[in-house]
Symmetry: C2
Subunit: 323 residues, 2 copies
């Protein structure tokens, strides 16, 4: 009986979802393309119908589900960990990129952003077991604030994209994150903040070893989940081709191309285009982070959905919602 | 309305499951320990209750869900592929382990079983895209027969273990396979044969590259999912500690130890012990495949469940079921 009641309440919430899907989206091309797609592939006995088991949707994270400016939030975490643990590592005071971090010289750190990020991650994300590391991430999220938005980092998620995730899940899609961000880092907060379970989170990862019942993080990158390795990671974790892919940069292009090459099912590709320099940030072809250039041209030529954040999103972040 | 009917029918089948769980198991210690565990952890408002999101069960495959004697079935597949493709590779006629394969000299191949298996896998599981490879596995399964049982390999699955999987799933467990077998090999048939979806199958894997919308398999092993790397693979794919683990060999010990070290939830560890030399095979401490030695001692000392196949299983394979 409990199960019946549960289903009735699910049915009810589902009807609400269908009627009022994507409330933070203005009526427009992007909202319509998402709704048209989901409606088409969930209608039984039609050519476009996709069985539930094949409804796999993949989302990039940085710049697609939460903000990524002026630098990846994981970099800010790593920098804060350097400050927190410098007493155990006096050598950091005289070595780059730690020296710049300790001097609050973000530009100095950013000079070698990829290499700097890797050194910082190796130094601050290792020599502890995964569970201890994730506690450190959660503790950090409770107090750290974004340097310009002055909000906790996990409040800088995109409300309209959360609604896309909920809409897809209400229509029996399995939603995965496929991100260049660290897999253990994301798993520390994404389940609670986005409602996506740990096992649906795919990302870059460091080497680990198993010892006495624990998984110990080692100071070495094992796999960077970006560009051509995103489809590789999807194949490894999910084992089937997605039908819908959401990204914001050239780093997501291969994953979206891989999705588009699904020859069994109708697919959807969507780029979030950062066009709002007031409420968020405006960047694409020349950005040092989240560069969208080749992908933008291809998307325009191939009828992919391109979201104009400024025009199409009523709010960007959840805290802008009217109570 | 459809959803309500569906739920009613699910409820009905669920009740059947609970009342008649594990029908191919004789009443005894093992059946009782599985039922006691599942009953305890699914009872709300009790100390042992495990929330649905944490109900993760992991199963080894070879020797735990299907047979593994006289050699891993994937080795027979690789051998058959050597015979099928030898005209494209005349050099195989004079090179080991291919020469022994072509002479049907299994003992010759087995002399260097691990190294031989890797060479054979590298040679026969590569230079094609994943989807083509999986078609080859499915085609093989339709015609190939086990050398002594004279049955298709995918009929040599353990009926009592299939019932454990169904019983766990009926109780909202997420069931994963964590096997030393090849991930792409298993994904070709496990979803249809066991009812476990592709994304819940974890295994050893070769290198791959992404190219033009396809995942191409390369002739190099990337990751062997065995012993201490089983917990590593679980952490990478699932991101949380299982609560129940099922294996049959020392190769599964680390995964079961990792599960037992779960400090949040009550856990279950179960070894399938191969004790039936008539209906299946009898082997443990001295076997060249599926060796169970250290694990057997630990299991006996630590109150793990040890299934005596001969005594506790009414049937081994599904084809022994009375119609």
């Amino acid at each position: 009986m409990q199960k019946i009641l549960l289903t009735l309440s699910l049915l009810f919430s589902f009807s609400l979802q269908a009627a009022e899907a994507l409330p933070s989206w203005n009526e427009g091309i992007s909202k319509q393309s998402i709704i048209n797609y989901v409606t088409a592939v969930t209608k039984e006995n039609t050519a476009d119908f996709i069985p539930v088991k094949d409804r796999i949707a993949v989302f990039d994270n940085d710049g697609t589900l939460w903000a990524e400016q002026p630098a990846y939030f994981q970099l800010f975490f790593a920098m804060d960990m350097v400050k927190k643990h410098v007493s155990e590592h006096p050598e950091w005071k005289t070595t780059e990129p730690f020296k710049s971090v300790l001097a609050n010289d973000i530009k100095g750190v950013m000079k070698s952003v990829e290499k700097g990020l890797i050194s910082l991650v190796n130094a601050t994300h290792s020599n502890m077991d995964v569970e201890t590391f994730q506690e450190e991430v959660r503790t950090w999220l409770k107090t750290a604030k974004h340097p310009t938005k002055n909000r906790p980092y996990d409040k800088l998620i995109y409300q309209p994209m959360m609604e896309v995730i909920q809409y897809l899940e209400a229509n029996d899609f399995k939603v995965y994150i496929v991100s260049g961000g660290g897999i253990d880092f994301m798993r520390a907060f994404v389940p609670e903040v986005y409602g996506i379970p740990q096992e649906h989170i795919i990302g870059s990862k460091g080497e680990v070893k198993y010892e006495n019942g624990k998984i110990i993080k080692l100071p070495e990158i094992h796999f960077i989940d970006d560009k051509e390795t995103k489809p590789v990671a999807i194949n490894y974790h999910i084992g089937k081709r997605p039908v819908a892919a959401f990204g914001n940069s050239d780093g997501d292009f291969a994953m979206m191309e891989y999705t588009e090459a699904n020859d069994k099912h109708k697919t959807l590709q969507l780029y979030v285009h950062h066009t709002d320099d007031k409420r968020e940030w405006k960047y694409d072809r020349d950005s040092h982070i989240g560069k969208l250039d080749k992908g933008l041209d291809y998307a325009r030529d191939n009828n992919w959905t391109i979201v104009d954040m400024k025009q199409e999103w009523k709010v960007i972040f959840p805290f802008e919602l009217k109570k």
